[in-house]
Symmetry: C2
Subunit: 543 residues, 2 copies
């Protein structure tokens, strides 16, 4: 048996290349079907221990060949990112393919000593996704140590539990690449995926790639607090862009950038925009397709890189107020019902999309992926090789067995359809509670029904003449304290202000964020009732 | 049902505190037994979703209370590290403990939507660890979604698959803290653990905590190439310290630091030493206990922080040449047979120990932990909160079920005893092959039997008068090329030089690294035979 190869950064055991493609597709064949045909045409998928891999192996080369290449971003790279080099040990990788060569050159341990004969899970059968149904009709998946050798699968523990590559496993990379093609079909040639251990880490990586200490980064004015907190120690400063009910305002983005005063700001014009276009945290806002095109257009004008963070993309719900329909089992219909991503309109290759399984499978998977131009993903891969390596092999092989070999792409979209129904139901419950308990408060509390995500953003309008009328920070604190008295907790909006809580004075708008993601229906209704009690108390509303 | 709490950085669902301790231990009770008693005394372990945790909850407070506190390192922190702040959302955490409070404040999804009814694995029964035995007598572990609620375990999927804390789960943190106490018993008060996704990432984190662009970091002159490559983009420069058969030379370390010329070097005196004291990669050297004390002493003299990277600590093998004994099933004996770590003699709290499951369980677990002073681990935790979060929950819960609830500490040490026997056997095979094929080559190839790890470091002594006698780089390349001809691959030693391959000219020593970790016995013997063939060819050795 040939000795194992080098450490993961320098192995090319079985090159998985795709130099052929399915001819221009028959439009009556869905994308998913095309991908199945492409797989068949390529023949057996072989990717052993630490197999080198690349999205190019899995894309529709025929479709891509006439598309424009991405713009180049090398000029914007920080010194740190520019300095990253491939592993020195890679040089030996090419010899490993030689017939009969025995390598004692590597540092990979033997799978003999991985104390797992198999790893398995009981997962929902397609179409029977609830916890209760899974208990009864769920199916058992079992991943053995040597399934590949035994012809049972393309991925097993002997591979997944060993070192991998900075891209992630070829097996999961194939799946996410195909998924990206099905859902977004990025309109440029050299788009590429790389697996990540969640989305917070690649965000930090991108900051380190393009942000120098003192630079500004653009955010929605209310934003995911962690995104700003991650930037802060790196010396990156937040610049908030106004939002409305549909999210980021392109006019404000344009104005900020057109009037950027380097001297006054003490920094060059920003190059990075961080946005959460679907079910934004905390505002719950979802940018419509036309809004996204406007945003993209402004980004083109000012040549921004767009960090498109989309953990809630698939939590796009049925419109509020309409009769709930049965979950769609048709992939094409499901995809049509989604607002298209910025990636799907990214002709320049300026979007760095962060995708994640956290909100649609489980946060504990610690798995996601980045989609960006190959120039960018290559830098991320080099960094992974010297830091996180790749997501846990245990998680990768379980997720692959579920998403690829058990559900497949279509089953996964059906699962997402189920999740959408669940979130729709929950959102409807909380909105009904708001109508019951908040609507009667004479306009003190207003809200826009969210169409995606897990957050409801309730705006508070202090009545004219109320105590401390002009001190929103004080009012916000009073409401928060009174909520605690009433035994309910919502998060004050000022905690999400990109430029800090102190902006509340200037900003002039008071909000509270509530989630409908997890509490029981009963608890949600009670919580909103208590919230209304707190508002009544603070603003002395009777009746 | 109370709504789930805040995002992971701000939750304190169930404080797990230990304000009592087992009285001063009866010396006849082993450390492992003491720990079991301590657990019993504390009562039921409760740590729910994203439970805040700390090693302090699991240490022997009685034993620690009179120990000195660690030195303080805050002055050495980089601006980036100093700038890290706790999450702003933490402020609300204290309210969550209130009886009857409903929180809609958080962002954690519901476990209803994690598509795993259970996850399981078949693992070896204690004492029957081989792959073959496991197939027959291995035991099934099954982790359900609600095992905690159902009283079956302290950890389940509803917790492990949700968000966690930057420390890692309380369940695994308890295990690694106890393990650290049993094995190393750090001799200062405020030592602390934090889980990491492997060891490469915390290494980068520590570089970013204490290294400013332009600084030097000290390494063994031949070192783990990745450690230098990780430092390079951060602008950190390697300074190599001479080694002998026992590893790092304290006299050379002292000399380099005593004579550090800031002006000539263009940088201040280094504060970081990176060392791999057991089964060093690539030299296979293991520092004896007395060597470690000398190294520590020099580090005290020059006030260095010591990054003790120990992936091979438990691959300490039986001495070469002695009759193999049966695996030790006695924990105390097993631990006594190990060379003590730098951590175990770390009275100052200057050691930052990187521990990993990669070489003793599986690289794909992507799990390890750091042991350092609480001042240091707190900074790492803050960084985790804004980057990797914590190791995959899937991996954490599987590893916990195996290491804590199936094998326990004693079973794990028995497993390590099995691994040691396996590595001993493999090492013996390759050494025998060297005796057979390399010893007859008139002293051209020499080696020191490694006592730990997975690497054999073969020194090449070009015969006097051989071609290119004074050009070691050329000779090294010739040997490498001839090896490829002979269809064998060993890694040239210059690839591991801390200060770069070009040092080979100055350094004057030629090495090749071979691993005995993974190839079959037959392949290893053949490989060494081929290697000898290559040497015979290059140096025209007959007979």
């Amino acid at each position: 048996m040939v000795a194992p190869p080098f450490p993961p950064t320098d192995v090319s055991l079985h090159a998985v290349t795709d130099t052929e493609a399915v001819p221009i597709a028959d439009p009556s064949i869905s994308l998913v079907e095309q991908i199945k045909l492409r797989r068949v045409k390529k023949g057996p998928f072989v990717a052993g221990i630490a197999a080198k891999t690349d999205s190019e192996n899995f894309k529709d080369q025929e479709k891509n060949k006439d598309r424009p290449a991405a713009k180049r971003w090398g000029d914007l790279l920080t010194l740190e990112s520019r300095s990253r080099k491939p592993s020195s040990l890679k040089a030996a990788a090419k010899f490993l393919a030689q017939e009969g060569l025995i390598s004692l050159g590597g540092g990979l341990p033997s799978s003999d000593y991985f104390p797992f004969e198999n790893i398995g899970a009981k997962v929902p059968t397609i179409g029977e996704f609830s916890e209760e149904e899974t208990r009864v009709t769920g199916q058992e998946m079992t991943i053995g140590k040597h399934d590949v050798k035994e012809g049972k699968s393309v991925f097993d523990l002997s591979i997944a539990l060993n070192y991998g590559q900075g891209t992630g496993s070829a097996q999961m990379l194939r799946w996410v690449t195909e998924h990206t093609e099905i859902v977004h079909d990025p309109p440029y040639k050299d788009w590429s995926c790389v697996l990540t251990p969640g989305s917070s880490y690649p965000l930090e990586q991108v900051y380190r790639m393009f942000g120098n200490r003192g630079d500004y980064v653009l955010y929605e004015e209310f934003t995911f607090a962690t995104a700003v907190e991650t930037a802060f120690p790196l010396g990156l400063r937040p610049c908030g862009v106004k939002v409305d009910a549909e999210g980021l305002l392109p006019s404000d983005l344009d104005e900020i950038l057109s009037n950027w005063d380097e001297k006054a700001r003490g920094a060059k014009k920003p190059v990075l925009l961080y946005t959460v276009p679907s079910g934004q945290n905390p505002t719950g806002a979802t940018q419509s397709e036309s809004r996204r095109r406007e945003v993209y257009s402004v980004c083109q004008k000012h040549n921004l890189l767009i960090i498109e963070d989309e953990p809630y993309f698939f939590l796009q719900m049925d419109p509020y107020g309409e009769t709930a329909s049965a979950p769609t089992t048709n992939t094409e219909q499901f995809l049509k019902s989604l607002v298209p991503s910025l990636l799907s309109m990214d002709v320049d290759g300026r979007v760095i999309r962060l995708d994640s399984f956290s909100k649609v499978i489980a946060p504990g998977s610690r798995m996601g992926w980045v989609v960006a131009s190959a120039e960018i993903t290559e830098r991320i891969t080099r960094h992974n090789e010297n830091s996180v390596q790749n997501p846990s092999g245990i998680a990768q092989v379980l997720m692959h067995r579920l998403l690829d070999e058990t559900w497949g792409h279509e089953g996964y979209f059906e699962w997402l359809g189920y999740i959408r129904k669940e979130y729709t139901r929950r959102r409807n419950v909380i909105l009904k509670a708001c109508e019951t308990y908040l609507a009667p408060l004479n306009g003190v509390a207003t809200w826009v029904p969210p169409m995606a995500g897990m957050f409801l953003w309730i705006q508070i309008h202090p009545p004219a003449g109320c105590e401390d009328e002009n001190d929103l920070q004080k009012i916000e604190q009073k409401i928060f304290d009174e909520c605690i008295n009433e035994k309910v907790l919502l998060t004050p909006g000022s905690w999400f202000m990109a430029e800090g809580k102190e902006q509340l004075k200037k900003n002039g708008k008071l909000f509270f964020r509530a989630t409908y993601a997890a509490a029981s229906e009963e608890a949600m209704v009670t919580a909103i009732e208590r919230f209304s009690g707190a508002l009544r108390s603070v603003f002395e509303i009777r009746g």
